[in-house]
Structures are given as C-alpha cells and as structure tokens.
Amino acid sequence: MINKFVNSVAEAMADVRDGAVVLVGGFGEVGQPRALIDGLIEHGARELILVHNNAGVGQFGLARLLELGRIRKVICSFPRSSGSVVFQQLYKEGKIELELVPQGTLAERIRAAGAGVTAFYTPTAAGTKLGEGKETRQFNGKLCVLEHALYGDIALVEAWCADRWGNLTYKETGRNFNPIMATAAKLTVVQTHHTMQLGALDPESIITPGIFVDRIVHIPNGNAPSSWST
C-alpha cells in the first residue's frame, strides 16, 4: 500500500544535505510551509540555496534561517518586502548572494525543471539589466533571453488537503508556487492542513497528482496565514 504520510516534521525533513537547493512554496504568508521551514531550521543543514518568491520577513521562518547563516544564496523575484530586514542586512554586509529573477521567469524556470525542458527563450528581461550576460536571440522580431531550468534538491510545499498517494489540493491563493515546485525537486515534502481518504478528492480537481509527492506531514489547521501577522 502506498502511504506517503510520515509521523513528524523531522522524519519529513530527513536527508536534506548541506548545499541543497531548497524550493519553498508560498507567496507572502499564504501557502508557505511554515512547519517544514521550522523543520529545516531544526535540521541544521547549511550552505543552502533558497528558491522562494521573497527573502523572508520579520525574524521567524525563512528570515530566521537567514539569520542563522544557513543560506548561502537566495534566488527570488522580490527580496525588498517591508520587514525583510534580516536579508537586507546580510546583503549590505555582502554575506549573502542574490540571484534576482523576474517572477514569471522564476515560475517558468521551475516549471521547466519539472517538465523536461532544459532551457527556454522568453522576451521578459531582454534588453534590461536582468538580461545582461544572458544569451539573446530574435524570434519573429522579438528579442528573447535564454533562461535555464531551475532544479531543486528538495521542495517544501503547503497543501490544503492530501491523500495517502500524495494527491493534493490547495486553498485559493495558497496555490501559488506550490504545484510547480512540487514537480521540480528530487524530493518533495508536503505539509497539509487536511487529509482525506484515497478516492475522496475529485479526480478532475486534483492539482498536484501523487506522482510528484514523496512525503506528507499532517499539520492540522496549522499555520493559517492569519495566525502569522500577529
């Protein structure tokens, strides 16, 4: 019987290696796998490369991981959020590397990694500072840059509902980067608010099919975005 549920965050986060590329879902606080991020803090892995839309807020979660000096490089689209003080300090001190990627290119690079596309041409950033140093090419008169697939070693995903095969649904804007990150890593670890019996999720409405999921921890009603801001 396939059963991807594990009993603890620690079990879910086993095998993360130093230097791993870690894809972390979420946009703002919504859909961020907070318990798994805390598990990563507990775990102790270092020299991580973090792929996430932002670069941590406040001093908890990803910001805490940054503060502990565990992240070597951040690949993101928007590290300037208000409250992103830890990252900004590290950046000013030259203690962290930043790869800034347009948000759509970031999403597409992650999807490409999951879909067997090794690289692609797209017009976003062509002719701009973020296109500098990249190969360019005209297609139908449109200048495009060559972008490479962005592969993860591990993806941390927050789902709304999961079954034991790893079929997932998400809640509203909690979907964001989670489904594409689930496809792009060697190991995909999920925290889910709810669980369902196999077969209870509508086969037409499963957003992440189980093939992309390795481990699931049930964090009942945990980390609703509303509980964060307080």
């Binding site: 703002g28 919504v30 590290p79 930043l98 948000q103 759509g104 017009p123 200048l143 509203e172 804007t173």
Partner: protein, 221 residues
C-alpha cells in the same frame, strides 16, 4: 497627498488619476493592475461593468477589498492585501498565472513608473541606490507580456524632475512597450514620433506641460 496647486490648474489626485484610467477600460477586458496607483483603478470601476482583474499570484477575477469582519486570510492580491473573488473568478498556480501575462492574454497591464521614454521604454523597478537589494517581482513580465501597457504616474517627481523623458536614466523594465500614460496633468499616447498629448486637465496648456516634460510633446488637441 500634497497637491501642488499652481495658479490656474489643479493637478489630479491619485484617486482622480485612477478614476481617469478606469473610464478608458471597456467591459470585457482582462486587466492586471500594478502595485501603487494602478491598484486604485479597480475601486473606481463599477462592479456592474465586467472588467476581469488578474493578480499574478493566481487570481483571475479579483473582487473588491473585504469588509473588515469578512477577511479570508487565504485570499490576497499581488501586493499581499486581502481581497475577494468575484463571481466567475478562478484560481491557478504561478506558472499558469504568468502564462496569462507572458503569453499575451491580458488586454491591459496598468503600471506605475519612475520614467517613461518617448520610445515607449519604461523604468519602474529599480532606483540607482546602492546597497539595497533590488526587487523586480512581476514588473518585467507585466511590462513585456500584455497586449497593452498603460502607465499611471505623477507627471514629475516631487522635486519637479520630469518623468516623461527622451531616454530613461533608471534601469529599464521593458523596451518600447508603453502605449499610453496617464499623469496628474495629462493623458499622452506613445506614437512613432514620440509623446502625443490627447488630453489635459483644465487650465493646462501644451506649453506649460512641455515645461514639465523632458521629451518633445506633440499635440493631438
């Protein structure tokens, strides 16, 4: 919002600028509103008029802000503000959302900007400050991918420097994509010859507007 009322004209407030943009959006358009003044546009559109707002974090059909006692913590827009979903709206993941943006499916992207050049170049993501990590978000995708890009911004900076320029001095967001600009003083189209004034606030003259504009203005009035 300080309004620099100078003699014979009264610049639009940001709310009035947003309202002015709103009047030009026909029913049925799919529209993304950038962070800042553009986001005010949705409030100035009657919900009777079906304009479908897209948020890059996976909403097609964003509705107005919720009542304070009806906040759904899972439902935020790209500025991370709480919003609602309109009847007929739907959710999608980030790659599908940016497929809408980058694949040319948006009728309109409304963006704020630091500068717009007479060739349609836009600079809206990075200042020239040192030491601060830059953030680009979805700005380049939105400025590059939509069918039309309109900019809404103050005509000049707070210290009076023109934002409508011959060539952008700030780092570019996208090249040659802006089609129209709504400022607190005028509405201008970006045409092959450069900026064409199509509308001015009461009391404004082309000469006075030119004095506040680095690039050469053409008038369609």
């Amino acid at each position: 919002m300080p309004e620099c009322v100078s003699g014979d004209f009264k610049p639009l407030s940001i709310s009035e600028m947003a309202a002015r943009v709103a009047t030009d959006i026909p029913e049925g358009w799919y529209v993304n509103l950038g962070i800042g003044i553009p986001m005010l546009v949705s409030e100035r559109l009657s919900s009777q008029r079906e304009v479908v707002f897209q948020c890059e974090n996976g909403i097609l059909g964003m509705g107005p802000s919720p009542a304070p006692d009806a906040i759904d913590p899972w439902l935020i827009n790209a500025a991370k503000q709480h919003v609602t979903l309109r009847v007929g709206g739907s959710f999608c993941h980030h790659a599908d959302s940016f497929a809408m943006i980058r694949g040319g499916h948006l009728d309109l992207s409304v963006l704020g900007a630091f500068e717009v050049a007479e060739n349609g170049d836009i600079a809206n993501w990075a200042t020239l400050e040192k030491d601060t990590p830059l953030g680009v978000g979805g700005a380049m995708d939105l400025a590059t991918g939509a069918k039309r890009v309109w900019v809404v911004m103050e005509h000049t900076t707070k210290d009076g420097r023109p934002r409508l320029v011959r060539r952008c001095t700030y780092p570019l967001t996208a090249l040659g994509t802006v089609k129209r600009i709504y400022t607190n003083l005028a509405v201008l189209d970006v045409a092959p010859q450069g900026f064409v004034v199509t509308e001015m606030i009461p009391g404004m003259t082309v000469e006075s507007l030119q004095a506040r504009t680095e690039a050469k203005l053409f008038s369609a009035l």
